[in-house]
């Protein structure tokens, strides 16, 4: 179905309820869907499972921890090796108030791709012989050990793209594809904030990174500046 257009990020989240699993696109500052994150905050949706490569590393996803909206995160960057400077998520994690599934970044991307591609699992060498292997099946291929990793799928994905056309096709800017383009395939409801909406046909067929078939809702928003100082 072609995408539906909303006037505000709050309206675009209509029906996203407590307990939802939410994939959050972006990588640190690059194409993070900050307007949609803040709309989730305003709406007060609680008990969320957030799936994102980072939480509390310059992104505003951590803002949802202010009022304890996140119950669990599945992430690759979530807790620093030292508590000298901690995000709200980290404080809550160290206090045992939130749950964390720490996933190698490549395994996270591939699990999300698998969730979107109908793959029931895949074998990777990443994590063999480490804590990541705990509780996972080990299978072999050509004499090497591989972990069987399982797909990730979510109720909702919130994304940030650069442009959308009226059909729902998305294109990203620079290094903005990152987890956005992968998560677009792996959620029941896919919501994108974009900087600009153009007429259908204005995006060249080769400049479309996320075909319209993956996108349910679109809202135009001015991008929010995000900076991370690397600490």
């Amino acid at each position: 179905m072609t995408a539906t257009f909303y006037d505000t990020p709050d309206e675009a989240l209509e029906g996203v309820g407590d307990g939802a699993s939410v994939m959050v696109g972006g990588f640190v500052s690059a194409s993070s869907p900050t307007n949609l994150i803040w709309a989730l905050k305003r709406r007060g949706t609680r008990n969320l499972t957030a799936i994102a490569t980072n939480i509390g590393f310059g992104d505003r996803l951590d803002d949802l921890c202010e009022d304890g909206q996140i119950a669990k995160a599945i992430a690759s960057f979530a807790v620093r090796a030292s508590s000298a400077r901690a995000s709200r998520f980290e404080e809550q994690y160290r206090a045992g108030e939130v749950e964390l599934e720490l996933v190698p970044q490549g395994t996270l991307a591939e699990r999300i791709r698998a969730g979107g591609a109908g793959i029931g699992g895949f074998l990777t060498r990443t994590g063999v012989g480490t804590q990541v292997a705990e509780g996972k099946e080990v299978l072999s291929w050509q004499g090497e050990e591989y972990l069987l990793e399982r797909p990730l799928h979510a109720d909702v994905a919130i994304l940030k793209a650069h442009r959308a056309d009226r059909l729902g096709n998305l294109s990203y800017r620079m290094a903005g594809r990152n987890f956005n383009a992968v998560m677009a395939t792996a959620a029941d409801l896919v919501i994108a904030e974009v900087e600009e909406i153009v007429e259908t046909g204005a995006l060249p067929p080769d400049a479309i990174h996320t075909p319209a078939v993956y996108v349910d809702r679109i809202v135009r928003c001015d991008p929010v500046e995000v900076r991370w100082d690397g600490r």
């Binding site: 690759s76 620093r80 480490t130 383009a181």
Partner: protein, 223 residues
């Protein structure tokens, strides 16, 4: 700790020594921290292709000008693009890394074992730690160089018979470059290849908790 014979190498000198390991035209991924500095020491004529796991091949130096939040490396730092750079998504980026298409990865380290095991993401006594792309680079890169300080701040060895911290990867390290030495990891264990200027193989071995093989005279690092 006894007084040391000479100063240890600075982070910049370690990065400079690592840069000499990069073959012209090769594809390289630099981890956060010290490894990030390596890029600046690779001569432009070497045409190193820098890959960043957030989806860039061919980024250049740090961006000095206008901040563009959509053009950052895996450490979140704003960067520039070299001609011929390309963008892709995270699944494609890690397919590139895990599929063996990165010639060399340079990662920081907390501990390395004599079998080449790497621990670099968690210090159990402090709790926490994040994996990021380290485990993927550890298994995926054709050659893995670890750049780190030879000992902890309180002088304990980081090169050990077995890692005590949670592992990043098993048997994945090919070369260790520290502020005291260059050490190669081989089938028979660790071979001391170079020492920092003013340091002897014996002094380096005394700060290493795994046997170091020495073949002939060990040269000082050329910097």
């Amino acid at each position: 700790m006894a007084a040391e014979p000479r100063p240890r190498l600075t982070r910049e000198l370690v990065a400079m020594r690592v840069a000499r390991e990069l073959a012209p035209g090769s594809t390289v991924n630099l981890g956060v921290g010290l490894p990030t500095l390596v890029g600046a020491f690779a001569p432009p004529e070497a045409n190193i292709l820098l890959q960043s796991e957030n989806g860039i091949l061919g980024y250049g130096g740090f961006s000095e000008g206008d901040y563009d939040q959509d053009l950052i490396n895996a450490g979140g730092q704003p960067v520039t693009l070299n001609p011929g750079a390309s963008f892709f998504d995270s699944a494609a980026s890690f397919a590139m890394i895990r599929g063996g298409h990165i010639d060399t990865a340079v990662l920081g380290g907390l501990q390395v074992s004599e079998r080449g095991d790497l621990a670099n993401w968690s210090v159990p006594e402090r709790g926490g730690g994040s994996i990021g792309g380290a485990m993927d680079l550890a298994v995926g890169a054709r050659r893995l160089i670890v750049a780190m300080e030879h000992t902890t701040k309180d002088g304990r060895p980081r090169i050990l018979q077995a890692c005590t911290y949670p592992l990043t990867g098993r048997g994945c390290v090919d070369l260790i470059v520290t502020d005291l030495a260059v050490i190669e990891v081989g089938a028979k264990g660790l071979a001391l290849r170079e020492v920092a200027p003013g340091w002897t193989p014996g002094e380096v071995a005394a700060l290493t908790d795994a046997p170091l093989t020495v073949t002939g005279a060990v040269p000082e690092m050329a910097l």
